[in-house]
């Protein structure tokens, strides 16, 4: 699972960031003379001393306790004090503006911060301080070559501004939400900090890590778009809630996702005598396996696809998920009744639910029927829950089990998080129609 790298201080344990002692700071310069760039960049330590003031620490302050509840990083992008950080750093401010404020620590002292707008799909937020920032990063489009040395800046685990070296590995292939793959240690607290080339140009914004030097950045183009949007149409009221804006972004995103899925035909994956929905779109990653246990009188073959990405709304609410799982089960030894109890137990196991709390969603309501899918009898159950903060968005879980044979079958689950009811229904229907039997 991808770990978002904002730090909740209450849960913080001192973890030493992996440091590679073998690489002295000068090593990169030592390698340079072999292939001299057209313009020789200044030594990196000089560069970073120069631009250190452009990066600051964001502190989310809980009003009642008056202390920071979590931290992240941010960097200035305009002389008027605009700064970019991650949505997940400031999500408390969006969802509970009455309980939280934010401030920026710039070495010299802290200044209060206003939240201007967010791009929840790409996990970005634009904040502004009243104090102008003379020194800032211009956000020009810049795509380095693969393998380019990059430097991620931020404040990992509240240890002070840190520079982490790594390499650019291009956009993550087939990602649902565009990300740059950065090979380097991004640690909690560095969220929202910039990742720069050796010349000091922003490539992306630190957002998450899979651990073991696998880090992810949001491409700088999305930050530029967010800044442009706010500069073009500044919000009239400062205190205005950002929820309608988030709502609109989620609606647009699910619409885009639905159109993308419905535009492509659903390929069918053979699973023994059955055909099941296969890799529907390039953003889905699919895996399969069969449990090889010698002592069980049946075999279960799994096939699952998932976007493996979601949209962060709060620390316990995610959305924008598409995932499904097929379990083909068959047995030569079990009779029809014993197979049925095996099938019941499979049908009783639901896929992991998308995290959400009482504040975010309602309970599920389900319907269960026998459905005819192109001649194949299927026991189908559909469950729906509504988002409380964002009316018109739902989580859907579809469970289906084929009922054409007495000792084999496919049990299938589809999870759609954060779709409009109509879109969820359309997708679920297309999905069900992807089930068939070939004999």
């Amino acid at each position: 699972m991808i770990v978002l790298i904002a730090v909740a201080l209450l849960a913080q344990t001192p973890v030493v960031a992996p440091v590679e002692p073998g690489v002295p700071p000068g090593a990169s310069e030592a390698a340079r003379p072999e292939a001299p760039p057209p313009v020789l960049p200044p030594a990196t330590h000089e560069l970073f001393r120069k631009i250190q003031g452009r990066v600051a620490q964001v502190r989310i302050i809980e009003r009642r306790s008056g202390t920071k509840s979590s931290i992240g990083s941010a960097f200035f992008v305009s002389a008027q004090g605009h700064a970019i950080t991650n949505y997940h750093v400031v999500s408390d401010l969006v969802l509970h503006p009455e309980d939280y404020t934010a401030e920026l620590e710039r070495g010299a002292g802290t200044v209060l911060v206003r939240l201007l707008d967010v791009d929840v799909v790409h996990d970005l937020a634009l904040i502004q301080t009243d104090v102008p920032a003379p020194d800032f990063f211009p956000l020009d489009d810049h795509e380095p070559a693969q393998g380019t040395r990059l430097f991620a800046m931020g404040n990992p685990r509240d240890l002070g501004t840190t520079i982490v070296e790594g390499t650019y590995n291009g956009l993550v292939q087939d990602a649902l939400y565009e990300r740059i793959h950065f090979t380097g240690a991004i640690n909690p607290g560095m969220s929202g900090g910039p990742t720069l080339t050796g010349e000091g140009r922003v490539v992306g914004i630190n957002v998450s890590t899979l651990g073991n030097q696998v880090g992810f950045l949001v491409p700088v183009a999305h930050a530029r778009a967010l800044l442009a949007r706010v500069l073009q149409a500044p919000r009239k009221q400062v205190d205005e809630s950002l929820l309608p804006s988030v709502h609109q972004q989620l609606l647009e995103n699910q619409q885009r996702l639905t159109e993308r899925l419905l535009a492509s035909p659903l390929p069918q994956q053979p699973l023994d005598d059955y055909r099941v929905p296969g890799r529907w779109s390039s953003f889905l990653k699919c895996w399969g396996d069969t449990a090889h246990e010698p002592d069980t009188p049946y075999t279960v073959t799994n096939y699952q696809c998932s976007s493996e990405e979601d949209i962060y709304l709060s620390s316990n609410h995610s959305t924008g998920v598409v995932s499904y799982l097929h379990q083909h089960v068959s047995s030569r030894e079990l009779g029809a009744l014993r197979f049925a109890s095996l099938y019941s137990s499979l049908y009783s196991q639901d896929p992991d639910s998308v995290p959400a709390t009482r504040e975010d969603v309602t309970n599920f309501r389900c319907q269960s029927e026998f459905v005819d899918v192109g001649g194949l009898p299927v026991r189908a159950s559909m469950c729906l829950r509504a988002y409380r903060r964002f009316p018109g968005l739902y989580d859907l879980v579809l469970r289906a089990a084929t009922l054409n044979a007495s000792t084999s079958g496919v049990d299938s689950s589809l999870t759609l998080a954060g779709f409009s009811a109509d879109n969820a229904r359309k997708l679920a229907r297309r999905y069900l129609e992807g089930l068939s039997w070939t004999k």
């Binding site: 069980t296 009744l337 099938y343 319907q367 029927e369 009898p377 299927v378």
Partner: protein, 322 residues
């Protein structure tokens, strides 16, 4: 009043002692020189006398007692009172009632237990054997069918024998109660009843699973299951108690039905009134049976997705509730 009357010493509604009075006067008091001796510390040694007046009427006369004598209905202190049928007189903490020989008693209560001497089905020795065999067989079958791993014959045998042991233990408890209250163990009958109840407990889940799957029936299935278990319990307790108490069957049934009804209400009302707890669980019937058990027809995809409009309405109203 009659020539002969009865003096009854009352205790609550019941009669504690009854004396036949033939010759008068009769003296009543705590002293041993009385005809009728009352062990009531508030009664005087020589308290009252029942005597026949010259005109033939029977009277009660207080003999100057310490605490006095009272007519009960209406309450009044008395020195002398003419006895009428059912007259009651209080002295100290004691109440006396006087009744003539002509007092009408109520009709005889018809004993239903006594008039059905024929043997009930589950009293027969054959029923005992058959029930326990069927119970063991049903448990073995259900143990075999619900296990989809490789069959462990030892476990399977245990799953058949445990219910048998439970039925016999249960019967042992009841037959002790029968022995104490009705002087006969009735072990076989109790064991048959216990076996039948356990058989029911084994069959109810199978029945609800069949109902839920075959007919695709979901509405109130949980409640139905609960009612079925409770009905089984009421039936079993009714017959067990018939061999333990001497209560009228109608009364017994009424007590059990009212008791279980109250139990059902008490367990359901709180869940009806309580707020629904937040849960990410999906709530629908999971039972699966072989495809040939399906009776309900399949729906078209159109109908299935049309039905989901109701779901949407339901969760929308949940979202508005807060």
């Amino acid at each position: 009043m009659d020539e002969v009357i009865f003096l009854e010493v009352l205790e609550g509604d019941g009669v504690q002692a009854r004396h036949r009075l033939e010759r008068f006067p009769v003296s009543v008091g705590r002293g041993y020189d009385n005809d009728i001796i009352l062990d009531d510390p508030k009664v005087s040694a020589s308290h009252l006398r029942v005597e026949r007046r010259e005109d033939g009427a029977l009277v009660v006369r207080d003999l100057g007692s310490q605490n006095g004598t009272f007519r009960v209905d209406p309450w009044a202190p008395l020195a002398e009172v003419v006895l009428t049928p059912d007259a009651r007189v209080a002295l100290g903490d004691t109440v006396l009632r006087f009744r003539p020989r002509s007092h009408k008693v109520e009709d005889t209560v018809i004993a239903r237990m006594a008039e059905s001497p024929r043997e009930r089905l589950f009293e027969q020795p054959r029923a005992f054997t058959a029930t326990l065999l069927v119970l063991v067989f049903a448990c073995l079958v259900s143990g075999y069918v619900t296990n989809y791993q490789r069959t462990d014959w030892g476990d399977l045998l245990t799953s058949g024998l445990i219910p048998l042991g439970v039925a016999l233990l249960w019967a042992g408890g009841w037959s002790l109660a029968s022995r104490i209250s009705r002087r006969s163990f009735q072990f076989r009958t109790h064991a048959t009843l216990g076996g039948l109840m356990l058989l029911g407990v084994t069959l109810v889940p199978a029945a609800t699973a069949t109902l839920g799957f075959s007919l695709s029936w979901h509405w109130g299935l949980g409640f139905l299951t609960k009612v079925a278990y409770l009905g089984l319990l009421v039936w079993g307790l009714f017959w067990h108690l018939r061999y333990v108490t001497r209560w009228e069957p109608v009364r017994l049934l009424r007590v059990l039905v009212v008791g279980s009804g109250v139990f059902l209400l008490l367990t359901y009302i709180p869940t009806l009134l309580a707020n629904e707890e937040f849960s990410p669980e999906l709530d629908f019937s999971r039972s699966m049976l072989p495809p040939s058990f399906r009776v309900a027809r399949t729906q078209s995809l159109d109908a299935f997705f049309q039905d989901s409009a109701q779901l949407q309405k339901d969760v929308d109203s949940l979202a508005k509730e807060e």
